[in-house]
Assembly symmetry: C2
Homo-oligomer: 161 residues x 2
């Protein structure tokens, strides 16, 4: 089977309705809806979300957000990197490589990637070539950060506070 | 029934074993175990975790971490506040007020409290007097921040990036 196509999602009412099928819905989606209603963002403009459609149905999604070098506390040398969140495949579509296709798409930009690994998902991230970082409470707080290093990139070291 | 007693948890092998019953286990717990093994932290020292014991069994826990004023991007005026994470009540003990007792304990320090509300838990946090903040992608990224304001404290406003 060919690898599923990962698409950049557009902000419109159809996308926002599709998002309601996912578990991880919160303030970010609510904010998008309000900005669309108030014409702060244009209908059909590019969103920071990517997804996979199965026919007409959005069955997987993730958000990829470019973090600027000056905010990079994870990578050496410090650089722009991608933060990946809300990776989710709808229940009936799991185990068919959709999650892997999404993460491979994130890696295809060849920037370092950082995510907050959800409950007991370590095995998935390790299979995808991600590694846990050294835990620093001031930086990581309640997170469980896993990172992917492109060639030539390593973990930033931190002094204890 | 009297309100359950919320205790500060101590770092020792019994606590770390108890933690394995919870879903949200990750790098933070692994790091505690390594620091204990390498004598970087003393056995039975205070942890940033609080919990409720039912008999000998740890049935609920949360982490409370003091964030210093200079890192405060949520509250006006900027001040020290508590970040609350990994609030979890073991499945068979839910619906008995343990979660409420934990959050009330966090509020009892009378500092602002910030948490990242998990999937579809908005109703719980609102019942506990928390409010969603205005979403700022640079600050909030994949989070769904809910905050509790003590008297005289309000939300910090941010310019768009």
């Amino acid at each position: 089977m060919a690898a599923p196509t990962v698409e950049r999602l557009r902000v419109n009412y159809k996308t926002l309705e599709d998002f309601q099928n996912f578990k991880e819905v919160g303030i970010q989606e609510l904010s998008m809806k309000e900005e669309l209603e108030e014409n702060i963002i244009e209908n059909d403009s590019e969103s920071p979300f990517y997804g996979i459609y199965f026919g007409n149905k959005l069955v997987a999604r993730m958000c990829l957000y470019l973090i600027k070098q000056k905010y990079d506390h994870y990578f050496e040398p410090p650089q722009d990197y991608l933060e990946l969140w809300k990776l989710e495949v709808l229940e009936p579509y799991r185990g068919q490589g959709f999650g892997e296709a999404m993460v491979n798409h994130a890696k295809s930009f060849n920037l370092p990637v950082k995510t907050n690994a959800r409950q007991r998902s370590d095995h998935f991230w390790e299979k995808m070539g991600f590694e846990p970082v050294t835990y620093h409470p001031e930086r990581d707080r309640g997170e469980n950060p896993y990172v992917w290093f492109p060639a030539g990139v390593s973990e930033q070291t931190h002094e204890e506070d």
